[in-house]
Amino acid sequence: MSLLNTMPEFTVTTKIDEMLNWTRKSSLWYMLFGLACCAIEMMQTGGPRSDLDRFGAVPRATPRQSDLMIIAGTLTLKMALRTKVLYDQMPDPKYVISMGSCSNCGGLFQLAYSVCDGVDKVIPVDVYVPGCPPRPESLTEGLLKLQEKMMQEKWLVRRGEDESVAAQA
């Protein structure tokens, strides 16, 4: 690479897995999926003060271009079926942050007849952010936790092969 030729002292040693993970975690595009109250806090998190863009997370309008789905708000039964469809449209690898008590477990609306108590009944969740609604700082923390999780992933594994086998090899 030409970069290394111009700066002979500048070398980086890393594992390929880590480099891949680092590039991926630094451009987490999240889908605008505001359902309820938490959507306002999500907007404020993307807004000027919290600026989620610092961590490479920018909003996308369509699931086809997103890596991350932030479920921000109460998931009703009517919406739950659509959420599954949207999740299925996202390309792999994909992640889900469940933001707020409602999408974690139903929260205040566990008493309701029309609310799905927890988004994990419909799609798998990576990070749960508690709060009603969580502050922008909490959502940022949730995103950082997700990035930590992403750094643990292994990619140089043959399909069907167990991860531990790959680690030994």
């Binding site: 605008l32 999926f33 505001g34 359902l35 309820a36 109250c37 959507a39 306002i40 806090e41 907007m43 404020q44 807004g47 000027p48 003060r49 909003p59 309008a61 699931p63 708000g73 109460t74 009703t76 009517k78 919406m79 659509r82 949207l86 205040l108 609306f109 008493l111 309701a112 007849y113 029309s114 609310v115 009603c132 609604p133 502050r135």
Partner: protein, 384 residues
Amino acid sequence: MSLGGYDVEVQRPGGLATEEMTLNMGPQHPSTHGVLRFIVKADGEVMREAIPDVGYLHRSIEKIAEKVGYHGFMPYTDRVDYVAAMPCNQGWGMVCEKLAGIEVPRRAEYCRVIAVELNRIASHLLSVGSMGMDIGAYTPFTHALREREYINDLLEELCGARLTFNYMRIGGVAWDLPPDWVPKAVAFLDRFEPLIDEYNALISYNKIYVERLANVAVISAAEAIDYNLVGPNLRGSGVKYDVRKDMPYSVYPEFEFDVPIGTGEVGTVGDCFDRYIVRIREMNQSCRILRQALAGVPEGPVLTKVPRKFKPPVGDAYIRLESARGDMGWYCVSDGSEYPYRVKIRTGSFTATSIIDKVSRGVMLADLIAIVASFDLVAPEIDR
């Protein structure tokens, strides 16, 4: 032919059949203000129909009221309209106080007015900002959110939450104004008021903005009343009606303020621009009310003693108040027990959504977003 203010020539080449196309917009759509779905029938770029399909955020708040009791329902009222939660708090407080005949201390009324007006500015800021974003300008959104954060800070100091406040109680408010809070609020107003002119300079009279909004979805005054539009949407159509002025409640009669209405300054009375500009002007009026209220907060208690087991007498009560989205009605039926027998919340967004089907006929597809944004819809307020 003239369609919704546009002179559109619908080309039908001889022998070539064109047909209507049915499109689905939402419920997940970046600019539908929450989960709101439209089934759009389009003939090319011209909409024939846009049928709203709501209910994707129906959280059964009215049924929950029957299970949690009068005091316990207060946090849920925040979630009826999370963009402007204070007026909802006040509405529930007011309807319960009317049922039981409770007098609210004057200081509490002042606290309520201050909190509600701050919240109204915050709500209008979000509406103005997202309106810009919906029709293609991202910068106004960041400007609006920047100021909104300062209001959130003030309200957080007041009640501990940024969005869902749970500040008011039946018979008053939960906490007194913190020490040194009033000067901070005044300082915010000093900074904020010049910024309204900045918004006007940046977006309101921007040529593209005016072109996108003027003459789109014109609603006449009679039509607005027939469809029961309220608040800024009604005033945009030129009806000078504000619950704070015309059916006064709380301590609003003590303050001087004007009721801005749409005048059709760049187009026709009742178009999207009028609904938008009414909100900008209302922020000015809210600042006026706030200055008067902050200067005259009386001494005294902020909460009347209300029994923990609150049992209002048998009967029903209906109150109306001016929330950020207009005339909000709270209807509560009591059967004398600890739990409300029935609560019905009449919201501005619900009726505003019902007129979309009518006004969207014949306008351009891209204008649907401008129409939705101009009504300032909030999904849970539609669905509750």
